[in-house]
């Protein structure tokens, strides 16, 4: 039983999905952790602004999350479409 080109393509797609997700998750992880840490510091400095800071933190984290979501979409496309 030999390995045909179809099998190679599937294998490459799965590998690509794994690499895309693994590398793409680094950036959002660092970014969201940084934003969360800074927000914690700011809340510790003036706790009465906690609501506003939490809101801003969530929006900023969502923005920094988008590259991770792109890599997720690419991985899903590689798994289910290719």
């Amino acid at each position: 039983m030999g390995i045909s080109g179809e099998d190679l393509m599937r294998a490459a797609a799965f590998l690509g999905a794994g690499i895309s997700m693994g590398l793409g998750a680094i950036g959002p992880g660092v970014g969201e952790g940084f934003v969360g840490g800074k927000a914690c510091e700011a809340i510790g400095r003036n706790p009465e602004e906690a609501g506003l800071l939490t809101r801003t933190m969530l929006v900023a984290q969502a923005v920094s999350e988008s590259t991770g979501i792109y890599s997720l979409v690419v991985a899903l496309l590689l798994i289910f479409v290719v």
Binding site: L58, V59, A62, I69, Y70, L72, V73, L76
Partner: protein, 223 residues
């Protein structure tokens, strides 16, 4: 595991052309709309100074968003408040719908977030033209130097892609993780916690973020 890639269709024929509807998305969106219509009817049936629980829940929800919109837009009237709040309410229940058995999230289909993202884009740019005037609006693209214009246009278009793909990716990824883990552990112990995390927590956060980003895009355009 087979149900991941399957899409149930309704197909309408017009002569040579055909329109394909995603059955699941349509029905689930109508369920969400029915929920909110029912909620609004029940909450406003008899409004009193001392409210019943449903009325106070509705007041809390609407009042919080009124404050939020007022804080970030600095307008005297409430012209963007209904749009932003409706986006939040629709996506909130949409994202949480997957927790209930036999129902699925309409936001799992890219068409739902993309259509509302495009809608937010047009609302933001129309209000930008209306508030700043056409000349100042066009001039905004040539900031800081004139050859940055293509980059600015691509940046504006990327906003639509990022806002809709973010919601779609979160909900779709969550539901796939729930499906795969449920399959691996034979639906024992773990699925309720996963549903609570991805359905309730992530769903609420993402709906909030979608509405807030729509609001931020509008406020960037009008000032």
């Amino acid at each position: 595991m087979e149900e991941i890639g399957k899409v149930p269709h309704w197909i309408l024929h017009f002569g040579n052309y055909q329109m394909v509807f995603d059955k699941e998305t349509l029905i689930m969106t109508w369920i969400v709309m029915a929920f909110w219509v029912l909620f609004a009817l029940l909450a406003t049936r008899e409004t009193k100074i001392i409210p019943n629980p449903l009325q106070s829940a509705a007041e809390l929800l609407i009042g919080t968003w009124d404050e939020l919109v007022k804080d970030s837009l600095n307008l005297t009237d409430r012209r963007y408040f209904p749009f932003v709040t409706t986006v939040f309410l629709l996506f909130w229940i949409s994202n949480m719908l997957g927790v209930i058995p036999f129902l699925s999230e309409p936001t799992k289909d890219l068409n739902t977030p993309l259509s509302l993202g495009v809608m937010g884009f047009f609302v933001a740019h129309y209000s930008g033209i209306k508030f700043k005037g056409f000349k100042a609006y066009i001039k905004g693209y040539f900031e800081p130097i004139f050859f940055m214009m293509p980059l600015n246009i691509i940046g504006e278009l990327a906003k639509v892609v990022s806002i809709s793909f973010r919601l779609f990716g979160n909900i779709m990824g969550g539901s796939i993780i729930i499906l795969v883990v449920s399959y691996l552990v034979y639906s024992l112990v773990l699925p309720p916690f996963l549903n609570a995390f991805f359905g309730l927590f992530v769903g609420t956060i993402q709906a909030f973020v979608f509405a807030m980003l729509t609001l931020v895009y509008i406020s960037v355009q009008i000032r």
